[in-house]
């Protein structure tokens, strides 16, 4: 039976709602089952025993120094701290040395790892401490059969060593100086090889002329040891995982497991970040909001059909069983889960998305889940944990990786289409793209293209040839989870529409506090709930920041944490830009708490301690905002509307003094590129805070004034420069923009508005005509004209062009006298005429040779124009007759008249035409062809004929 069918039948919709969660829990519980507990062994001393027994130690009769050297090198090669084994080996070596009573100098050189310095301090320490402890190695000696085989050899060797290693240079013979890291110098006597050869002839054949100390080549040894290491690591990991899973089944919680783990490697614990150490490994450990967790998990489960190929039918019985389990075992969580009924609107939408049909490839509708939220809430952790528990192998791409287009494409393809064949994790991949908001848009486009990739022909066939599709593997068949801080980065815009969006809510402080308390208990710190709450508050419920702060305090040796330390410590604060309005508000508002705390004593002590704190606070805010220009502008625009008692205007003066100082500073910075002075700019906000801050919530407005002023200034400038551009040079040389605005323009506008009689200009008296002429001259000289314009109301008005009247008009002053519409119209018309006249004159001036001719023509014209139709006809006739031109070819060369006949006929025609033309021209009746009027045929009729 299908899972859902079953669930709909049941009244208790708990199962229905939390099916996936329960499923995961069930799987978690189930997991250890296939591995019987008895079979996996906890690695004990016996293991190491065996490990050490196996190698070809029969030939270990070599020099002990070499062995030590070799071990050290092994330590440097293998990274993972396997203290146990080292302990044993080192212990053995130590004991052997001890038993041989090697002198101090030799011991120093051998034991203290000088020959090859250890890779890391912890490693160094571990061997050191182990050797000094030398506890467990008692039974190991039996393993070193090779050593006991030849008991006298080491003695001989040691004796030889004591002979060889000297503190002073030997008096005779050759020697080698060896200096260790601490500066001790010993001298090794060089000896003939004969002794060594005699002592151990067996190893000689193995070596091809190299330093013959080992029976087997070092490479072989290395390989063997590495193999052993690997085995050990595998066993260790098995043991750990088993222990962890056992812990879960026994409701032990991870902390117990962690504690055990911690006991084991104390050194590792010190160096690891607590954030990693205590990061949740299971779904139940997650601190983030349960609803979010569940949604993501559910979405991921939607992929099961296509990824694992299993239908949901398979699961119901198990789910059912585990539901029972869960219900009994974890009532608290059940209660918590029940709370989600309150999330209605949002949850319903999300729910709908999750219930939506799978597409033709059996993928969910949204191929990408996008987690968004501020840093430190556990987004990455959630993604990892959930992906792991849904049975995926996590492949992460984050900002540290190269995210250029090609590489990104390759990585996406690798992650979504490949699968690891070797190794234990043969699980399908789940791609987690972390910090995607920083990725270039090219990369995001590639991701989108991957999402929307369609199988070429699979569209119609649908699920029938699923096999083919599988073979091609072009469609995206693996889930992708994207994580970002800012969901609204422009680059993410296209992705946002195709993604299953999950906004991360704030972590609940109570849960966070609880977890912090657990951590501090485990780490042996004392911290009460109040302190931890304060810490949460300070870091804005940022989990990472909280834990880091705790670890920092722990690392400084503080074992008890109180509220004061938390307040005073500077860590855990994020350098976040809070926005300009926030800054202005902080500047103009006294902090609430401070005032309450100081209470009645506020007058006497005007916040000595509070003052510095406020100072620092505002300074920090202002300097982190960075936009000093905007900030000071906002302060300037708003400070006068603050409710500050300032009868003598001293405070205002002080504030302005600071403003002008900062302006000066800005000028210097910009002019000389002296950016080191920038650090003094944020102090303006601080001063304003102390001068103008008030307990009331300030009513702030965005500073527009400067921008408005600049825009208007620019507009006026443009009008003036348009006016200046066309002014004739004789006037232009005398006026500048400054004199225009300051002196000329207002008066000029007065001058061009004389009193004109509202009559036709034809009827003006000579004096008025003169006046008009002057007016027009003036306007032309100053490049002013009237332009007809239409107001929104539909009225026609004449406006001055360019609009310099706007540039000199001030609000609140009595309006200047304006000419009437008619007057302006008259002026405008007269001006046009005058302009034409001038242009004509100019033409005449430019080419004076043509002018008289034209005049002559115009004078001579009237005579024949008595019969203008005749003239017209004549021109027509001319046009037709003028066709007799010498023919030219394409290149303009004269062409010899080849066809003789047509020419003659043409000429004949022409003559006819010509005669016709003249005949028509001489008659009294004429018409115009194509005139389109009915009385096209005309005839001159004189009055006398009618009388």
């Amino acid at each position: 039976m299908d899972e859902y069918d079953e669930m709909y039948g049941i009244e208790d919709d708990y199962d229905q709602q939390f099916a996936d969660e329960l499923e995961v829990l069930a799987e978690m519980n189930r997991e250890p089952a296939p591995r019987p507990r008895g079979e996996t062994r906890v690695p004990s001393e016996g293991d190491a025993d065996r490990l050490l027994r196996d190698p070809p130690t029969s030939e270990f009769s070599a020099n002990i120094m070499v062995l030590q050297l070799f071990l050290n090198r092994l330590d440097t090669v293998t990274k993972s701290p396997k203290a146990k084994r080292q302990k044993q080996e080192a212990g053995v070596v130590k004991r052997l040395f001890d038993s041989q009573q090697i002198d101090e100098g030799a011991a120093a050189t051998t034991r203290s790892d000088d020959i090859t310095p250890p890779s890391s301090p912890e490693q160094y320490e571990s061997t050191r401490s182990a050797s000094s402890r030398s506890t467990p190695a008692v039974l190991d000696i039996s393993g070193f059969a090779a050593f006991s085989q030849t008991p006298q050899r080491p003695a001989v060797a040691a004796a030889a060593a004591s002979q060889c290693v000297l503190k002073r240079p030997p008096l005779d013979g050759e020697y080698i100086t060896v200096t260790d890291s601490s500066g001790n110098r010993v001298y090794l006597r060089q000896k003939e090889n004969t002794d060594g050869k005699l002592a151990d002839p067996s190893r000689v054949p193995h070596l091809d002329g190299s330093l013959g100390l080992l029976a087997e080549p070092i490479e072989v040894l290395k390989e063997q040891v590495a193999e052993r290491r690997h085995q050990q690591v595998v066993e260790e990991s098995q043991r750990l995982s088993e222990m962890l899973s056992r812990g879960v089944t026994e409701q032990f919680g991870e902390l117990g497991g962690l504690e055990e783990e911690d006991d084991e490697d104390e050194e590792g614990r010190r160096s690891r970040l607590w954030v990693d150490m205590f990061s949740p490994h299971h779904y139940t450990d997650l601190l983030s909001d349960d609803f979010t967790n569940r949604c993501l998990l559910k979405w991921l489960k939607l992929w099961d059909t296509v990824v694992f190929g299993k239908e949901r039918k398979v699961r119901p019985p198990q789910v059912d069983r585990h539901v029972q389990n869960q219900n009994t075992s974890n009532p608290k969580q059940a209660a918590q889960n029940a709370n989600f009924k309150t999330f209605k609107t949002k949850s319903q939408i999300t729910e709908e998305i999750l219930e939506a049909e799978l597409d033709q490839y059996k993928r969910p509708k949204f191929k990408v889940a996008m987690l968004s939220g501020p840093p430190g809430l556990g987004k990455t952790t959630l993604a990892h944990v959930i992906a792991k528990h849904a049975g995926y192998n996590v492949v992460e791409i984050n900002a540290s990786d190269d995210r250029s287009a090609e590489v990104f494409q390759k990585r996406i393809d690798t992650a979504t289409q490949m699968k690891s064949v070797l190794g234990t994790n043969q699980r399908p991949n789940c791609l987690i793209i972390d910090e995607i908001d920083g990725a270039p848009s090219a990369a995001i486009n590639i991701l989108l293209a991957t999402l929307n990739r369609k199988d070429g022909h699979g569209g119609e066939e649908g699920g029938e040839n699923a096999k083919k599709k599988k073979k091609k593997e072009t469609v995206l068949l693996r889930p992708i989870i994207c994580i970002c801080n800012d969901l609204y980065v422009p680059a993410l815009r296209p992705l946002r529409q195709q993604a299953f969006l999950l906004a991360f809510p704030q972590t609940q402080p109570s849960r966070l506090t609880q977890r912090l308390a657990e951590i501090s208990r485990v780490q042996g710190m004392k911290a009460d709930t109040g302190t931890l709450m304060a810490l949460c508050e300070k870091t804005d419920n940022d989990i990472r920041s909280c834990i880091n702060t705790l670890q920092f305090l722990h690392g400084r040796g503080q074992r008890t944490v109180d509220t004061r330390t938390v307040q005073s410590v500077a860590v855990g604060q994020k350098d976040q830009n809070k926005g300009l309005f926030h800054l202005w508000q902080e500047t103009f508002q006294l902090p609430r708490l401070k005032r309450k705390r100081v209470g009645p004593g506020f007058e006497e002590a005007p916040g000595e301690g509070g003052g510095t704190q406020r100072f620092q606070h505002i300074l920090l805010l202002a300097s982190s905002s960075g936009e000093y220009e905007k900030v000071s502008q906002g302060l300037y625009d708003n400070y006068l509307s603050m409710r500050v008692r300032d009868p003598h205007m001293h405070i205002v003066c002080e504030g302005l003094q600071w403003l002008s100082f900062s302006d000066q500073l800005n000028h210097v910075i910009m002019h000389g590129q002296n950016f080191s002075l920038m650090r003094y700019l944020p102090f303006l906000s601080v001063t304003f805070h102390f001068l103008f801050a008030h307990a009331h919530v300030p009513r702030l407005s965005y500073p527009h004034s400067q921008h408005e002023a600049t825009t208007r200034l620019q507009g006026n400038r443009n009008a003036l420069s348009t006016m200046l551009a066309e002014i004739p040079p004789s006037v232009r040389s005398r006026i500048s923009e400054l004199s225009l605005t300051a002196d000329i323009l207002t008066l000029l506008l007065d001058i061009i508005c004389p009193k004109l009689r509202p009559v036709n200009p034809q009827l003006f008296s000579t004096r008025e005509k003169e006046q008009m002429r002057e007016l027009i001259n003036t306007m032309l000289a100053y490049n002013l004209s009237y332009r007809q314009d239409r107001t929104p109301e539909g009225q026609y008005i004449y406006v001055l062009e360019p609009r310099v009247d706007e540039a000199v008009k001030f609000p609140g002053l009595p309006p200047r006298r304006q000419l009437t519409y008619q007057a302006k119209q008259t002026i405008s018309r007269e001006m046009e005429q005058e302009k034409m006249r001038r242009a004509e004159q100019l033409m005449l001036l430019r080419n004076p040779t043509q002018a008289p001719k034209e005049k002559a023509k115009s004078t001579s014209d009237p005579k024949p124009s008595s019969k203008n139709h005749q003239q017209r006809l004549e021109t027509i006739v001319k046009q037709t007759t003028v066709e007799l031109r010498p023919e030219v070819d394409f290149f303009g060369r004269a062409v010899a008249p080849k066809p003789q006949r047509p020419v003659t006929s043409e000429t004949g025609e022409k003559s006819v035409e010509q005669s016709m033309g003249t005949a028509v021209g001489n008659s009294d009746v004429w018409f115009r062809f194509n005139e389109g009027v009915s009385n096209a045929v005309r005839r001159n009729v004189y009055i006398r004929e009618l009388l």
């Binding site: 000028h667 006026n716 400038r717 605005t741 300051a742 002196d743 207002t746 000029l748």
Partner: protein, 356 residues
Amino acid sequence: MSLWVDKYRPASLGKLDYHKDQAVQLKNLVQCGDFPHLLVYGPSGAGKKTRIMCLLRELYGAGVEKLRIEHQTIVAPSKKKIEINTIASNYHLEVNPSDAGNQDRVVIQELIKTVAQSQQIQSSTQREFKVVLLTEVDRLTKDAQHALRRTMEKYMATCRLILCCNSTSKVIGPIRSRCLAVRVPLPSTEEVCSVLSAVCKKEGLVLPPELARQVSERSGRNLRKALLMCEACRVQQYPFSADQEVPETDWEVYLRETANAIVSQQSPQRLMEVRARLYELLTHCIPAEIIMKGLVAELLSNCDGQLKTEVTHIAAYYEHRLQLGNKAIYHLEAFTAKFMAIYKKFMEDGLDGLVF
């Protein structure tokens, strides 16, 4: 060509109406043949440009008056194109380099060099040098002024510079020392009156001497303004009456009202209103210095003797800051606030004195 200012502008040194001895000196300067660089300075409306044009005419004859406007495009080293208008005759070139804003150095370097490097061909009939007339030199950036220094010396043979500015205080010392400074002071009230009545006579109008006096006072002896005012009066009402209202420029009226607002009440709210008015003035292309000057003049008329010195002092202080800074409005407002504080204190002290 029909404004009186343009119509009756004297064209030769001999026809100048006032500062005649200076005109004679300039004439001698031309005739002696050793023509130096000139730095002509004086308040606006005193007739600097007129005098310079007369001088050029004296140098080259009537040919200088054939002017043409040229639009030049200069490419700065940063590949930025600077467009600038020059007014030129065959003998001289007039540039206002401050039109180019911050890039004026490039204008100085390119434009002047090209002029200066070209030699006159017919040196027998002409002067052997051309004249470059730079206006508003006091608005040049320091960079541009330094660029000018060397050019002035290097091309002395082919080029003379006439610099024209309102105040020499912003012209760097090296340039001042390379020029013959010619100060053109404002005409006296009587001189303005005589010019006005002469112009009116030419126009065939009768100007009552009272009105002439009033106009010249209102114009602050700025002759250009006085003539324009007179013409505006003529447009307003022709048969002149002695007590006719003389039209004024709007910004001055506005500034006076602003000053009155400051004096009448001193409070942050009033300061806010004043700020809006100051912004208004600034957006109408009135330079901040002129606003400051006008404001101080208006405020001082409302102050008593002792207060006057104090106000002048703070005005000087804030004017200096104004020059050092970028945003004029801050400094203007700072001055206003300071004045308010001082004035208020002064008034309250006065009241206290009355009470006790």
